[in-house]
């Protein structure tokens, strides 16, 4: 089997996912087109040679519907020969798009794949694609469906993270993101979004609140008390985890991932493709895998998938130089570090979604690029990227510099 290599990674800045967010004026498809343009232009890519464009998109409805990467390719004026497909594995869609592309290359069907994701949460909205998972009693009951925030609170309750613990993590995430931006660590990948006249619409992650401290977070009320109590979801948590007496609600907007707009794309190819196109590979996809786990607690999948992946890749935790775990909620990351006894110095070293935001379908590809940049900056070799996923799934990928 051929190895899949990473030749480039780009992302948009993340705009606040509200009507007053800077990217709210930009259609979802255009966010996708912008990253496709960047991949082409930065690499002098002949787009007729692109075997596939795979984009993750969690709510592919309305303007994001109808295979958004194909539409984005039209707007980006790609050659008609470059097809596209849209996938969803909820929050890991962007990483799964990369894994899917890598598999196509490894399997020999494709030589060049652009993989990434796009989500305009301000324009399309979260949960707009509906779904039996939470609506249909025949599914919701056996799935022990709970909103993710309640699941995150359940993790905190079950694994003993206090409000102070999760808030302290959030403060640190903000600090790290600020420092990384200040020092220009994201420069390599972030492409400013400009209008048709060349005027900049957004060139930085605008969700960040670098002044956040424990005191400012303490003033926020927990967000999931209402759904937990009135909506009945605390009872679902207790029935699934009867060892707890109730749910300790600790998460709020300040220690959960931000709602933002954004897109990302990664250029993947075989060794041969690199030679043909005269591109130098930056890294190799060493291994990837997925898991499904208990869906009520939902967000502990990164632990399970990491265990499975290390075993599959015949590697040890100590072989990984940097970990990048999406900061969906603070407790998700705290549980991961607790389970593996990982030092925070090796994980999310430049902050994460609590500070910069989580544009669902795009995030996997974004943090993939972030950790690749950081490996290069620190001159380290190996990184593991993983995300927690709705309905209890997990995706993880190990990359190795070449």
């Amino acid at each position: 089997m051929a190895d899949a290599y990473v030749y480039d990674a780009v992302r948009t800045p993340r705009g606040r996912g509200k009507k007053d967010g800077s990217l709210h004026e930009v259609p979802a498809v255009r966010l996708g087109a912008k990253v496709l343009e960047a991949v082409r232009d930065r690499n002098g890519l002949d787009t007729a040679k692109v075997d596939d464009i795979i984009f993750g998109c969690v709510d592919p409805v309305g303007e994001a519907g109808s295979v958004i990467p194909r539409s984005a390719a039209f707007e980006a004026r790609y050659d008609n020969a470059a097809p596209g497909m849209q996938i969803s594995r909820f929050c890991a869609s962007g990483l799964d798009a990369i894994n899917f592309g890598a598999a196509k290359i490894a399997g020999g069907s494709d030589e060049i794949v652009i993989a990434g994701g796009v989500e305009s949460m301000s324009r399309v909205g979260m949960g707009m694609s509906g779904g039996a998972w939470f609506m249909d009693p025949s599914v919701g009951l056996p799935a022990y469906f709970m909103p993710q925030g309640v699941s995150a609170d359940l993790i905190a309750t079950k694994y003993g993270f206090s409000r102070d613990d999760v808030d302290a993590y959030a403060v640190e995430s903000q600090k790290r993101a600020k420092k990384a931006w200040d020092k220009g660590y994201f420069k390599k990948s972030v492409i400013p979004i400009k209008d048709q006249n060349g005027l900049t619409i957004l060139d930085h992650d605008e969700h960040m609140r670098p002044t956040t401290d424990m005191q400012s977070l303490a003033s926020l009320n927990p967000s999931f008390v209402m759904p937990g109590e009135m909506g009945g979801f605390d009872a679902v948590a207790v029935q699934r985890y009867p060892e707890i007496e109730g749910v300790n609600h600790v998460h709020h907007a300040g220690n959960s991932s931000g709602i933002v707009d954004g897109a990302a794309a990664v250029l993947l190819g075989s060794r041969k493709a690199g030679k043909t196109l005269d591109m130098k590979p930056r890294a190799k996809i060493r291994a990837f895998t997925n898991i499904g786990s208990e869906p009520a607690i939902m967000l502990t999948g990164p632990v399970d998938v990491t265990e499975k992946l290390l075993k599959k890749a015949n590697m040890k935790l100590s072989d990984i130089n940097l970990f990048e775990l999406n900061e969906a909620f603070a407790s998700v990351v705290l549980r991961y570090m607790q389970a593996f006894d990982i030092d925070h110095d090796k994980l999310n070293v430049n902050g994460g979604a609590i500070a910069m935001g989580h544009p669902l379908g795009a995030t996997g590809a974004m943090i993939f690029g972030t950790v690749l940049d950081e490996l290069e900056r620190r001159d380290l070799n190996t990184a593991l990227v993983t995300l927690c996923i709705g309905a209890g799934m997990g995706t993880a990928t190990i990359i190795e510099r070449v």
């Binding site: 949960g127 009693p137 919701g140 009951l141 009135m230 009945g232 009872a235 009867p242």
Partner: protein, 741 residues
């Protein structure tokens, strides 16, 4: 037209047919095969007769209808079981067709082209309310007697004649789900505000108003059959729907713990049904109804919660040859919490009560309890000041035993002390006629030994109430060795008069209920000692279907009381009668930590000031080495708690303490809420089959000790394949069980 046995049809000058349902041989209209056949003919007649413009359906009785005859459904299910053994597929098909009979008849009425109006003159339940919902117009009489409900879920089934489809097409989805999944009763006002009925009119104008709807040009087309129909709650897949359905599913789980398939099926019917056209929706409902009728839960709940409960309430176990006697006066000795409660329920039934305590002040305090309870009812709008005055006037509070003169029944509820009881008994007997019945409300002293205090042991009996008396629906009637039939008859007539359910129990320590409850608590003590985390015990109990966890229950009844009882048991029966580990646990709680239970705010739970909620005492974790949650099988926790009770119920049957399985089942549900979906402690065994139950008990015995050893009776039943209801077949003589839901 005398064409029908159960209906009269009179067409007036305006061409409006008044269809009056009035079954000749019943006190209440119910759906039978014959009723359905006749209704179908009437629907056809109205549809086909040019001279008839439309029809009004009402009842000739005080009530509209109780709905389907559940005993008929029970028979149908019995037949299905037999048929299924012969030809599985055919039997299911027949059941499916049977399940749809009523639904499609109502659909036929609704699409017949002629307007129908239901004139709801009284209680209108189940299938009858579904019939009304199929009518194009619905008018209800403005009266307290009019209650409308789809209560099927309470007996393990659900409204299968369009109820799950028409309600959410008339009312908003949330209210519809609430009504359907709880079986709640609606007043005419409430039903109108929900959009389920059109008009509420004075009872005398009911038929007139119904006819007027037709005269005014009522369209014989339901809203959902009109083009462009919109659901009142909005589409399922909409912002409103996304706010409603996920919590609705969670709340169903919270309320049912997933133990009630019928409630789940209602949610599924509504969800799936609202996504498709009406006829398809009815088919979906029919499929689920067919499924639910085959569940063990439906079978057991119909039997215990409907059929058996009614039979017991009607005095199934009453000796038939003793004539009924109305009680003119009841004496209550002891005006403490229990005595005061007994006085209240007695006076509430309209029976004069003499409430006696050692001095006037104590007696008055007992009477004040009734005033307090009435005040609470008045506050809720369920009683008036006049009701309160009347009730209080029936209670004579006094220290004077002479006032007992003329009482037909005296209930002793004094302190649980043999000497005090002896004195009370003798003082009362000195005044009472020799024919009067003397009952003790003791919970701890055997009736036979208390009977030594009387000169008339034949007239001495136990009437054991549960606390709080006004809420608890069960009463154990305890037969002493020499208690006679007349005493039993009087006790049963009394319990019936106060509208509680009696079960007859032969004398033994703890009688029936407390023996079971004790096992429940003891199993929890064992688990605590093993290191099972306390939340898993309490949550496990609720997940198994119990209303209150065993530790919370121990707190309610008081831990120091448990300590007293355990010590008394050791004194009476020897050291071996109490598990020394349990004694140690309780001694530690009471003596070392001062935790007496709810009453001192410190028990297995802490009870902080309201509005804070009670929570398990964190110190419990320090008492025993805690197991990891992952090392505890919650399913096994659930099984242990139910099995330990069921085994005790089986022992009680084996010993002949309770002789009728209906009483053991209904008693277990009413007294301590034994997982109602099982149909009760014995039906739990019958439901899984004695063989499987014995295997389960033996497995638990291996792991958790001899408390789980199945008694010989069960081992025999496991071998023979018998059920309790076969082996101890209840006599069904003398009762009418024709009622409905």
């Amino acid at each position: 037209m005398a064409d029908y046995k159960n209906f009269t049809v009179e067409t007036d000058a305006d061409g409006i047919a008044l269809v009056t349902w009035n079954m000749p041989d019943r006190s209440m209209n119910v759906f039978t095969e014959e009723v359905m056949d006749e209704l179908e003919k009437i629907v056809d007649k109205v549809a086909g007769d040019e001279a008839i413009k439309g029809a009004v359906i009402t009842s000739g009785k005080e009530t509209f209808s109780g709905g389907a005859d559940l005993t008929m459904l029970q028979k149908m299910l019995g037949l299905f079981e037999t048929e299924k053994k012969k030809d599985h597929d055919k039997a299911i098909r027949l059941l499916f067709d049977g399940a749809g009979r009523m639904s499609w008849l109502w659909r036929k009425l609704e699409t017949s082209g002629k307007p129908w109006v239901s004139a709801i003159n009284g209680t209108c339940m189940g299938g009858a309310f579904e019939l009304s919902l199929a009518c194009h117009g619905r008018v209800a009489a403005d009266s307290d007697k009019v209650k409308m409900a789809l209560p099927e879920v309470k007996v393990g089934i659900f409204p299968g004649a369009g109820g799950t489809q028409r309600v959410p097409r008339l009312a908003n989805t949330q209210e519809a789900l609430q009504m359907l999944t709880t079986g709640q009763s609606l007043s005419p006002k409430k039903a109108k505000s929900m959009g389920l009925i059109h008009e509420v009119v004075p009872p005398k104008k009911l038929v007139e108003a119904a006819k007027k709807m037709i005269k005014d040009g009522l369209k014989p087309v339901q809203p959902w059959d009109e083009k462009g129909f919109k659901l009142p709650g909005g589409p399922v897949y909409s912002a409103a729907g996304a706010n409603l359905w996920p919590p609705a599913i969670a709340i169903l789980r919270r309320e049912t713990y997933g133990n009630y398939p019928a409630a789940t099926a209602i949610l599924k019917c509504v969800y799936e049904g609202l996504l498709v056209p009406f006829d398809t929706a009815l088919t979906i409902e029919q499929r689920y109804f067919t499924e639910i009728m085959q569940t063990t839960e439906a079978k057991m709940m119909i039997r215990s919660l409907f059929v058996s409960l009614q039979e017991l309430n009607k005095g199934a176990r009453r000796p038939v040859d003793v004539p009924a006697r109305k009680l003119k006066k009841v004496g209550v000795l002891g005006a403490g919490f229990m005595g005061a409660g007994i006085a209240f329920v007695t006076a509430k039934a309209g029976i004069p009560v003499v409430l006696i305590d050692r001095d006037q002040e104590a007696a008055d305090k007992g009477k004040a309890h009734s005033a307090k309870l009435m005040d609470a009812l008045i506050k809720k709008g369920r009683a008036s000041e006049a009701d309160k005055e009347k009730l209080l006037s029936l209670i004579t509070a006094t220290p004077d035993y002479q006032e007992l003169d003329g009482a037909g029944l005296v209930i002793e509820a004094v302190f649980e002390d043999s000497a005090i009881k002896k004195e009370a008994t003798e003082k009362a007997e000195a005044v009472l006629k020799s024919s009067a019945i003397f009952a003790s409300n003791t919970s701890t002293i055997p009736i036979t030994s208390l009977a030594k205090n009387t000169k008339r042991p034949k007239n001495f009996i136990g009437i054991h109430f549960f606390s709080p008396v006004d809420k608890m629906m069960l009463v154990e009637i305890i037969m002493g060795k020499r208690t006679g039939d007349k005493a039993l008859a009087v006790a049963m007539d009394y319990v019936r008069a106060i509208r509680k359910t009696p079960i007859v129990v032969n004398d033994t320590r703890g009688f029936y209920v407390n023996r079971c409850v004790l096992r429940y608590m003891q199993e929890a003590f064992s688990m605590l000692i093993e290191g099972v985390p306390a939340p898993m015990i309490e949550n496990g109990a609720k997940m198994a279907g119990m209303p209150v966890g065993p530790l919370a229950l121990t707190d309610e009844t008081a831990i120091d009381l448990a300590q007293k009882i355990m010590k008394q048991t050791i004194r009476d029966l020897g050291e071996k009668a109490v598990d020394p580990r349990h004694m140690e646990l309780i001694d530690t709680m009471v003596d070392k930590h001062g935790r007496h239970g709810r009453k001192n705010g410190k028990g297995f739970y802490d009870y902080p000031e309201k509005p804070a909620k009670k929570h398990l005492w964190p110190g419990l974790k320090e008492l025993y080495r805690q197991k990891r949650a992952e090392a505890v099988d919650i399913e096994e926790v659930k099984q242990r708690l139910l099995v330990t009770i069921a085994l005790e119920a089986a022992r009680v049957m084996e010993e002949g303490i309770v002789t009728d399985p209906r009483e053991a089942d209904v008693g277990s549900i009413l007294a301590f809420g034994f997982a109602p979906y099982t149909g009760g402690a014995l039906s739990y065994i019958d439901g899984m089959g004695a063989a499987r139950f014995v295997a389960l008990a033996k497995r638990l015995q291996k792991k958790y000790g001899k408390g789980f050893k199945p008694p010989k009776l069960l081992v025999e039943m496991a071998e023979s394949g018998e059920t309790f209801y076969q082996r101890f077949a209840p006599e069904s003589a003398g009762e009418v069980r024709k009622k409905a839901a």
